[in-house]
């Protein structure tokens, strides 16, 4: 404990050395730090010391304390996990961590394009590589996450079309639906479009009925939250366009080594989350959102996010970067800007750039194909188990797929509890999110799963449901 005779010198606080403090106080003519708070009225002053836990002043003791708490977690690396649904366990190449843990990137923030040239270039390269993946010319500096990207993409569509109604596939996950509902409540009227019970895809007849000259946008995901591929994406885009509406597609970029980029079948705005591109799951801490469009002024001017562009400098051949159309942002014009912009998830954008640079076209194609092969294998294996139907939708799947357990007579919660006893994290329980799917779970299989992992799951499940 600090006492007047032996005050603590805090390693993070250079001027906590008493002699230095006294010198500085003398320089500014203050008797004590209290003088600086002269404007804080007495009734607003905290009389007592804050009631906080006793600290661990030494770095070792602190580390031991926090590691002790973290030790109570059991991770997806220690167990075998098939959880997905918005966060997935892909392999993170070592170079991704090496770069995003460098202090030069980790502690940079808002420097000018001169002193932070590297940050601007790394983010410009991220958007450029995403542009190749998406076959679109404009990609934003990351927003918070895929939820925000979808909600903003829809509000962009509302502003671009001057219409208020958005039609959204009901297969969008309930958490994202909640976000969109909140975010659009005074800007748009949301209608949820039902899905085809057999394929999971949008019910095209219901869509046709819902479309009108009030429709600003039609939104669906490909691959969907429930894992299936929306095979009618091209028709949906055509239907939207026929009514003067925009087609907005949510896409996990990791699928685009094998799946056609949505822009190629008519998407006007594409959005999603980049967690899969080199970010650890981090209990939901690896998310960042992208929004992409073609390079058309009426679209560009509706982005709230920062957009970094390349520009020449006064030295021939030197690359400079800067904010494109800054005047549209809340940084420039406060509430007159488009929505708002602030600190979001830039470091994950840089990391996703590193990931795409490492993977290259070949890596993305192999990874996508490998994920689809493993997911399909897993579905085949699970489907062999009595009472288990996998995949529940008759459609191609990318990484996730719905597994139905109705005929086993056992609820997913119980099955997952039994799997957990064998150190297996079973698929995400959908029984509350999509009651119409009965006792179903969303299984996620990626390139990290070996055949033995999948076989182990299948055997465990077989034993659990057939016992």
């Amino acid at each position: 404990m600090s006492t007047d005779e032996h005050p603590i010198v805090y390693p993070y606080i250079p001027n906590s050395v008493p002699a230095v403090k006294q010198q500085m106080l003398a320089d500014v003519g203050a008797a004590s730090a209290d003088e600086f708070y002269a404007d804080v009225p007495e009734p607003l002053r905290l009389r007592d010391t804050l009631q906080l836990p006793e600290p661990y002043p030494s770095e070792y003791a602190l580390r031991r304390h926090v590691e002790g708490l973290l030790a109570r977690n059991r991770t997806a690396d220690e167990c075998l996990s098939f959880l997905g649904g918005g966060c997935s366990q892909h392999y993170v190449p070592a170079v991704c961590d090496e770069i995003n843990r460098r202090g030069e990137f980790l502690t940079a923030y808002a420097g000018e394009p001169y002193d932070d040239h590297g940050r601007f270039q790394a983010l410009f390269e991220y958007t450029s590589m995403m542009g190749e993946l998406l076959n679109m010319d404009v990609v934003n500096v990351p927003t918070y996450d895929g939820f925000q990207a979808a909600a903003t993409a829809l509000r962009m569509a509302v502003r671009i079309t001057g219409r208020r109604q958005v039609l959204i596939a009901r297969t969008v996950g309930p958490d994202k639906r909640s976000k969109i509902r909140d975010y659009c409540q005074r800007a748009a009227e949301i209608r949820w479009v039902d899905f085809d019970a057999e394929t999971g895809g949008m019910d095209l007849a219901a869509l046709e009925t819902a479309l009108s000259d009030q429709t600003a946008a039609v939104y669906f995901e490909n691959p969907a939250y429930l894992g299936f591929v929306e095979t009618h994406g091209d028709e949906i885009a055509q239907m939207a366009h026929a009514h003067g509406a925009l087609c907005v597609v949510g896409a996990d970029p990791i699928s685009l080594g094998v799946l056609t980029p949505p822009a190629d079948y008519g998407a006007d705005i594409v959005c999603g989350d980049i967690q899969s591109l080199g970010m650890h799951m981090q209990y939901g801490g690896g998310h960042a959102g992208y929004i992409a469009t073609h390079d058309e002024v009426e679209y560009v001017m509706e982005y709230p996010s920062r957009l970094f562009g390349i520009a020449p400098t006064r030295v021939p051949g030197e690359y400079g970067f800067g904010d494109v159309a800054y005047e549209r942002t809340s940084f420039a014009v406060r509430e007159e800007g488009k929505e708002w912009v602030g600190t979001a998830a830039a470091l994950w954008g840089i990391t996703a750039g590193v990931y795409l640079a490492l993977m290259g076209p070949q890596g993305m194609a192999e990874l996508g194909e490998g994920v689809m092969a493993r997911a399909r294998y897993a579905a085949l294996r699970l489907n062999e188990i009595r009472g288990v139907r996998a995949p529940a939708f008759r459609a191609p799947h990318f990484r996730e797929f719905v597994v139905n357990f109705d005929a086993t007579g056992r609820p997913v919660a119980e099955i997952n509890r039994d799997l957990l006893a064998q150190d297996i994290f079973g698929g995400h329980d959908l029984s509350r999110e999509f009651p119409e799917l009965g006792q179903s779970a969303l299984y996620c299989v990626t390139e990290i799963h070996t055949q033995a992992d999948i076989d182990r799951l299948a055997e465990a499940l077989k034993e659990i449901v057939e016992k």
């Binding site: 993070y12 730090a33 708490l69 502690t107 420097g111 690359y319 809340s330 194909e369």
Partner: protein, 532 residues
């Protein structure tokens, strides 16, 4: 010994006993855009092969796809070997001036304090990074306990009753607070009537922008001679249409508004709620709180006050706190503790709903928790007092520079930052604040003017936090004094800055010209080709 060895190698550091500025030059790698480095066939990392057993069972994994959905042309990503990717990005990393490198005093309002390395290591723990957010709660008791404990700390630091750590960053927390204000009035049947949010011009732009995004009209108050709006201005602004007040205290001027409790009362009397933007609470930790001033809501930025690094612009972390009366509106889920187990409470029917996937940026929360646990109550108070001492010391040094002033409330002490004005220098020399900042970059420091609009003419905003030593503060002030003097003696040198940075003066005109702007390399190549 040669004659050279007898010379004092440190001699250049001082002239007449006074320290000279450092002879800085930033890294300049002239690094190509990564696509220029591509070499067909190179691989940066190999992906796990599909095993023969799977291959045999599955056949063509893409066979089910309709032909139009099977990507026909591979994405034109660059092809590089792993060491080339690494070197490229390490070079880019060197071309930054983050808080680990520079005396990061010039990014006022952003609280660019030291981010302890041990906390980065804890955040990268293999017991945290591979946690899936949907895992059974029994397997995530460690991270949930950290979140719960950290919420208890924020409750004590703010005096408010309940917290959510879900918002992704500061502005997202501001938005969450606006959403809760909207939900509160909607429940009382006053959603239509109460359609105005009052804020101040020195509050962060997101207070105004988030309010507008949530559907409110924005009423902005301007400062009087004291640096904050007078009470009469607020009285005139409130009405039965007032939904709430979003305000910072101290604002960017660093002047604490002593009548803040009266402000809150005026808004409460009109039926509105009050949200305290405490993105930057650094100077008042343990001194004064949201509760005592009567606020209904507040928010903190974990990447400012609570030391998590800024990551080139995120991920950061936002935390919003509310009174007991508003607790049920907090976003879902909240972290709960039943005395034995921690769990996520989704059963909150009045909640504004989800704001982001899952629950908060866990690694940021771990860092913030560890930071508080390294300091405790006495340490937090030391943070505040030293941050404020540093600021007033810097103010004292800066005001010795001719041509610089600290507008508003002359002679009064400031809390954790000051918005200065170079108006007099600009009038004398024609050199603008922004140009001074770019020249300062030649001495290895970052500098920022202020948010727009420039209510203070020729502004700069300095915030020394608790993380910089007296020597470093002296160095920063000396750089400012030197650059200001250069504006008089050699204004063209200043205007042409930076000279010792990675690059030189950028031609910004393409960035506002749709025919020439390029947000991706492919767009640049197309436009360059078409232009040629």
């Amino acid at each position: 010994m040669t004659p050279e060895m007898t010379q004092d190698i440190t001699a250049h550091r001082y002239t007449d006993g006074k320290p000279n500025l450092r002879r800085f030059h930033q890294a300049r790698w002239d690094e190509p855009i990564i696509f220029e480095l591509s070499q067909t066939g190179q691989r940066g990392v190999l992906v796990p092969e599909v095993e023969p057993g799977i291959r045999e069972a599955v056949g063509d994994a893409l066979a089910d796809l309709p032909p139009y959905l099977r990507r026909a042309t591979p994405p034109a990503l660059p092809e590089l070997s792993q060491p080339e990717v690494l070197r490229h990005y390490v070079r880019l990393s060197q071309e930054n001036l983050g808080a680990d490198l520079n005396i990061e005093i010039g990014q006022g309002t952003c609280t660019m304090k030291y981010s302890p390395k041990v906390n980065d290591q804890l955040a990268a723990s293999p017991k945290l990074t591979p946690l899936h957010p949907r895992q059974d709660e029994a397997t995530v008791q460690g991270i949930l306990e950290i979140m719960y404990r950290f919420e208890q700390m924020l409750k004590e630091i703010s005096g408010l009753a309940c917290f959510s750590l879900q918002p992704a960053a500061g502005s997202a927390a501001i938005y969450a607070n606006v959403a809760m204000i909207r939900a509160y009035h909607a429940e009382r049947g006053e959603a239509e009537q109460r359609d105005e949010i009052i804020t101040t011009i020195f509050s962060h732009p997101s207070n105004a922008a988030c309010a507008r995004t949530a559907g409110f009209k924005v009423v902005t108050l301007y400062p009087d001679a004291d640096g904050y709006p007078d009470l009469d201005a607020l009285q005139a602004a409130v009405s039965e249409r007032t939904a709430g007040l979003m305000i910072t205290n101290p604002e960017d001027t660093g002047i604490f508004n002593p009548r803040i409790a009266e402000f809150v009362q005026v808004v409460h009397d009109a039926g509105g709620l009050c949200a305290y933007d405490q993105a930057n609470a650094n100077g008042i930790l343990g001194i004064t709180r949201a509760r005592e001033a009567g606020f209904d809501l507040c928010h903190f930025n974990l990447h400012k006050t609570f030391s998590s690094p800024h990551g080139c612009g995120g991920p950061g972390g936002g935390a919003c706190g509310v009174t007991e009366a508003l607790a049920r509106f907090l976003p879902v889920p909240t972290v709960a503790f039943d005395g034995e187990r921690y769990h996520l409470d989704y059963d909150r029917p009045d909640s504004v709903g989800k704001l982001r996937p899952f629950y908060g940026y866990a690694p940021v929360i771990v860092r913030a928790y560890a930071w508080v646990m390294s300091l405790g109550a006495a340490g937090l108070r030391e943070v505040a007092e030293v941050a404020v001492l540093n600021n007033n010391y810097l103010l004292h040094k800066m005001l010795e520079i001719p041509g610089l002033s600290a507008p508003y409330a002359p002679g009064r002490r400031r809390i954790e930052q000051v918005r200065y004005s170079w108006e007099a220098l600009a009038q004398e020399t024609g050199v603008h604040s922004e140009e001074l900042g770019l020249r300062a970059a030649d001495f290895g420091v970052h500098y920022w003017t202020s948010h727009h609009p420039f209510v203070v003419p020729e502004p700069c905003t300095l915030e020394p936090t608790e993380s910089f030593s007296k020597r470093e503060i002296d160095e920063y002030a000396a750089i400012m004094a030197h650059v200001a003097e250069e504006a008089r003696t050699d204004p063209d040198l200043v205007r042409a800055a930076p000279h010792c940075s990675t690059i030189h003066t950028i031609d910004h005109t393409p960035l506002d010209d749709p025919a020439r702007w390029a947000m991706t390399w492919r767009a640049y190549r197309k436009k360059a080709r078409d232009g040629a």
